[in-house]
Symmetry: none
């Protein structure tokens, strides 16, 4: 029985993956993502600017898009948290408002590019949902559920749908681009949905 218990993780033989290259790839990819559209970024450009070989990229990621996805995750890993001030409803309203600020930011626009890139790929879409979107979504779901339990929302409220109605309009404007996404708009949505102030 081979137990090399000393080393917490037994490393496989061979040269280990270069963390320097990995970081260089992800950071370069993100920088390029900021400037150009996702289609305008070429894997060879990433390789060159990162001082890396294209083969190294394709050894660790199955496609250019997967690199982009990882580059985004690597940069925007902190999940927009709840600010526990006020009632649950107020916390939810506050989260919607801060989500609007995120979407309007550079990272938000990059996220939009990511979403449109992965639209046709079930694999990448699944990864995006599981590693990013659903984690963030659960923040809203949780606080809505707490509001429901606390009696701030009706007991028969469908929380999933509530969340879609609260955040959907923000993404709508982000993608269509017919109007700006700003705090005022976020407040209006929250008023309509949470305060019935049509």
């Amino acid at each position: 029985m081979k137990e090399n218990t000393k080393s917490k993780e037994s490393r496989p033989p061979g040269r280990p993956r270069s963390e320097v290259s990995k970081k260089a790839i992800l950071q370069t990819a993100y920088q390029l993502l900021k400037k150009h559209g996702i289609q305008s970024v070429s894997s060879h450009e990433i390789a060159e600017k990162a001082g890396v070989s294209t083969a190294t990229i394709y050894r660790w990621w199955p496609s250019k898009e997967a690199v982009m996805l990882d580059a985004f995750f690597n940069k925007v890993q902190s999940i927009l948290p709840i600010n526990p001030v006020g009632s649950f409803i107020e916390q939810l309203r506050d989260h919607v408002i801060r989500s609007a600020a995120f979407l309007a930011s550079t990272d938000g626009k990059i996220m939009a590019k990511i979403i449109l890139t992965i639209y046709d790929s079930p694999t990448l879409k699944k990864e995006f949902l599981e590693r990013f979107y659903l984690l963030r979504r659960s923040i809203g779901i949780d606080i809505a559920n707490k509001a429901k339990t606390a009696g701030e929302l009706p007991l028969n409220t469908n929380v999933e749908i509530l969340i879609d109605v609260l955040y959907g309009p923000l993404f709508y404007r982000l993608f269509l681009g017919h109007e700006v996404v700003n705090e005022s708009f976020a407040r209006s949505i929250a008023s309509i949905v949470l305060d019935h102030s049509l």
Copy 2:
């Protein structure tokens, strides 16, 4: 005596544009759009299948994406109309529900691809908004305004925002793909927004 008084518009000299080729290009582009993703369709494939030269395509459209946009407009030109039955609020609710059906259809999914494709191009985005989206949006705006005038909606209602909140969640699910877009979802949105039935 020169008899060109009858023709109201004197045509410019030169061979006129071939309507046959134009239609063949747009129809072929749409067919390919249905099958493959927008990126998988090549301009040369359109040319070949349409029995047309690539030069003809590029003489009339500035890029492959512009062809796709036109192909979509050409197919989906009828604007989803209002069904004038019931109160204005009910007409609006009905329109949201039928919009959900459109988004869930093949044409709806193609439209999603179109929107995602043109995201980074201000020119194409402007064209999409002006030639398609804003025309459709105005249907909802109109009926909401009528509802406001008729007293079915508060006088201080911001109609633009109301529309975004009603339709945004549908597009949200369409783009993100975390849940399905169906009639039930559309009804729920309308209930929350129009009936305050959170």
Copy 3:
């Protein structure tokens, strides 16, 4: 007032060929030939610069190359004549020298382009030989024959070959471009061949 009484031959029906267009085509073709290589000149460029339609070009000439050929003939129609001064041998020597000057001129370089263009086309080559080259060549042949008759050249001289040896080296340098074609070179050739002054 219709003035067609003068023409002895009754003109065919329809609009007569425009001599203006014909001249414009030939002159434009020649101008372009001077600037660019023959391959760099496009039929559409000729049409545009000549204010003429491409169809007109192709109605009267079977190909772009045929236009070029005609343009050249149109410009360089005068056959380099013999200067009847001195003995026949001296007249021949003088003609070789002036031929070198022609080859070194702009028209000579254009002729080179013409020859290389028609190299692969039996039809055009035949036309070039019959309408241009053989006419010029016969000048040399004639004077050489006169020299032979006058006893200035041996009776067994093969005049055809003599001409090739006299003029061939000029074309050789023109095409290969390894040395310049000038009067000095022409004199040397004549000396070697006609004076045996090797």
Copy 4:
């Protein structure tokens, strides 16, 4: 102690150029050159027939014509040598005669196409002269110089011009096509120039 002294030449990093592809391109180009004119051969046809990508062709050659030039050099690399039998004059005469045979051969006709094709390109012309023509020409120059030194030719003979007069007529007939290039013609030239037998 690191022993890498053995390897005489340390290869540069990166995948080495495929000699197989290079040869396939050049041989395919030559085959096509034999059949069609140089303009009728397309780079894509070479790529396809050689089992190679067009990008590979254009990475190593700047244009289709450059490929053709190389294909010709690759095939006709052996310089027509002097046959050291008899006096230097006789060796020169023999070389002229064998040059005529070369010009009349398939390779000779291809060479004519090459020369005509590169006429307008200083770059390609320079390459042709340096890598092919001047090397061959020096053979004639050398033997003529030896003849001069040996007293077989006058001391004031201009060898460059002598060579042009000897070989020029051959090329003249090759390019103009008004007469055939054969041994008899070559012998006549040599007689006129070297034996003064006009």
